[in-house]
């Protein structure tokens, strides 16, 4: 399958020059070669029981971060919120 590097860049929200894109394409081709070297997938148990996690009890804790902490690293703050350019979908 041919890879559409521009499509991948759009998914990742990254911008590249033409030259960078062609380098990426080479890298992906190389990756495709790497994958070919891997053995075919073996039938395997999807799950092993020893990989089960402990769940958290439903206890609410008092606020660990104040609003000031929450917003302290934000590039742009407005009305106690993170401000971003207008969203349109």
């Amino acid at each position: 399958m041919k890879t559409d590097v521009s499509h991948i860049a759009r998914l990742a929200h990254l911008r590249f020059s033409e030259q960078e894109l062609s380098q990426m394409e080479k890298d992906m081709t190389e990756l495709a070669e790497m994958v070919k070297e891997l053995p075919d997938p073996q039938e395997q148990a999807v799950f092993s029981e020893d990989n089960v996690m402990q769940l958290r009890e439903d206890d609410a804790e008092p606020m660990s971060l104040s609003r000031q902490d929450v917003l302290a690293n934000a590039p742009l703050v407005q009305s106690g919120c993170f401000a971003v350019p207008k969203t349109v979908e």
């Binding site: 399958m1 890879t3 590097v5 499509h7 991948i8 860049a9 998914l11 990742a12 929200h13 990254l14 911008r15 590249f16 960078e20 990426m24 890298d27 992906m28 190389e30 990756l31 790497m34 994958v35 070297e37 891997l38 053995p39 075919d40 997938p41 073996q42 395997q44 996690m53 402990q54 958290r56 660990s64 971060l65 902490d69 929450v70 302290a72 690293n73 934000a74 590039p75 742009l76 993170f82 971003v84 350019p85 207008k86 969203t87 349109v88």
Partner: protein
């Protein structure tokens, strides 16, 4: 003797015997940082409250309070571990000014023990690389020879310990990022068993592969630090619920009867003559100490690097998606739309290697490729892991070179990208399989650069690794360990 040349275990004893103070240690360290930092560039940030913390510990000692053996010992922390109120950059423009409002679980442990954090160390951006050249803050130089790399991605941590700019250090190891710089800098570095140390607060690159690791001048130092940070954490669902014995004092030099596996696949043509020789000579030391050496074969090792790159890139593409300029970190200026903000923020904020891996990871997870790439890699991962687990039914530990060569010359590594990746072949299997692995100094090249060997064990067999490393140090009279001051 300057205190920065000493090991943590020595300083700990001297502190408790009140022969020295933490303040004296820290002043020595600060002096050393002043004199060598411009040559090594081991740190991104040096703390300005070091003496203050040291004094607090000295006060506690003076009051006769019970203190942790590591209290008052200066420790450097890799800059991808969250420190509350202390800038944590991941060596990226993206997080150049990011100050976490919380401590990583391992940092909480250090603070509770009264360790003195000296600063945040340089690394490859988001831990992607093995030379510390992919840093927004410039590369780190090897204290043995400034023209050489300190390795990576925890190059700053390794250089700091080896060069006397810290006594101990925390790093992180996703594919060898603690062990390889430890071997380049002539010190001891452990990547613990997956799930034995909390990742809470470790800024994620590849979640299923990485662990916080420890670096020190010798086995005893790393054992002490590992004992402090290991254990179950209710904030990290991937930590194991088990009881850990205190390894800080328990290392034994008696390794008689220990079964050591030597996998032929790890001594191939790629390994430099000097490195192979140093490791083989070390193995004969173990034999002389009464260990039983057996040749083994691990054919699936050849899949390790490819598997590693697929899985780590996939996870990275998702883990690094959160850097979008909304809540923290860099945001590109004057963007007129949301799409533009995302794209320019990420394109301007990330370095080229990070972007490359995000692209590869996005690609392998994308519709139509997932089964052929990601699923195939997961299957290979299981095969590699199973083969190693089977090997540990026959041997207690496995010894290999940590890296095919001693420290590379700066600039050399960037030239040969895929070649460099293949050099990770000895370290990535432990990450893929979740096993503990340690790099121990075992020789010197003719050019005066350190050589390290890797000890690998079954899950949660850190004690065995420390024993073996300690025994080797005793047998060789510590002639390799300790950084540039040996």
């Amino acid at each position: 003797m300057k205190l920065y040349k000493k090991k943590a275990c020595e300083l700990s004893r001297m502190l408790r015997e009140r022969k020295i103070s933490s303040e004296e240690i820290c002043r020595d360290i600060l002096e050393r940082i002043d004199s060598t930092e411009s040559s090594t560039n081991a740190y991104i940030t040096v703390c300005d409250d070091i003496i203050e913390h040291a004094k607090a510990i000295d006060k506690a000692v003076a009051e006769g309070r019970d203190i942790h053996p590591l209290a008052g010992i200066p420790i450097a922390v890799k800059d991808n571990i969250s420190t509350k109120g202390l800038r944590t950059t991941c060596a990226s423009r993206m997080l150049e000014n990011y100050v976490p409002p919380y401590d990583a679980q391992v940092i909480t442990r250090l603070r509770q023990a009264g360790m003195v954090i000296t600063g945040k160390t340089n690394m490859d951006e988001f831990a992607m690389g093995s030379s510390t050249e992919n840093s927004y803050f410039g590369c780190t130089h090897n204290p043995y020879n400034y023209d050489h790399s300190a390795g990576g991605s925890s190059g700053g941590s390794a250089a700091a310990v080896a060069g006397g700019e810290a006594i101990l250090a925390l790093g992180s190891d996703t594919g060898g990022s603690v062990r390889q710089p430890a071997s380049f800098c002539g010190i001891t570095g452990l990547k613990p068993t997956y799930g034995s140390v909390s990742r809470y607060g470790l800024i994620a690159f590849a979640s299923s592969l990485e662990q916080v690791g420890v670096l020190g001048k010798c086995a005893a130092d790393t054992a002490m630090l590992y004992s402090l940070i290991c254990g179950h954490d209710s904030k990290d669902a991937t930590t194991a619920r088990r009881v850990y014995s205190d390894l800080s004092t328990g290392s034994s030099y008696n390794i008689k009867g220990m079964k050591i596996g030597i996998p032929e696949e790890y001594f191939g043509a790629d390994v430099s003559e000097e490195s192979a020789k140093a490791v083989y000579e070390s193995i004969s030391c173990f034999e002389k100490m009464g260990a039983e050496v057996r040749r083994i074969s691990l054919p699936n090792t050849k899949y390790a690097v490819n598997t590693y790159y697929i899985i780590s890139s996939a996870e990275a593409s998702s883990n690094l998606a959160r850097y979008d300029g909304v809540r923290y970190g860099f945001r590109a200026e004057s963007c007129s739309s949301l799409a533009e903000m995302y794209e320019r923020t990420r394109s301007e904020g990330f370095g080229s290697e990070v972007k490359r891996r995000i692209m590869l990871g996005t690609f392998v997870l994308s519709s139509g490729f997932y089964d052929d790439y990601y699923k195939k890699a997961l299957s290979a991962r299981n095969m590699i892991r199973q083969e190693l687990l089977d090997a540990f039914k026959e041997c207690d530990i496995i010894i290999t070179p940590t890296y095919p060569t001693p420290a590379l010359r700066l600039g050399d590594s960037a030239a040969d990208r895929m070649g460099l990746y293949n050099s990770d072949i000895f370290t990535v299997p432990a990450n893929i399989s979740g096993l503990p692995a340690m790099s121990v100094p075992c020789g010197m090249s003719s050019a005066g650069l350190p050589i390290g060997m890797q000890l690998m064990g079954a899950p949660f067999s850190e004690q065995l690794l420390f024993n073996a490393a300690y025994a080797f140090e005793c047998f060789t009279d510590e002639c390799f360990a300790g950084g540039v001051f040996r």
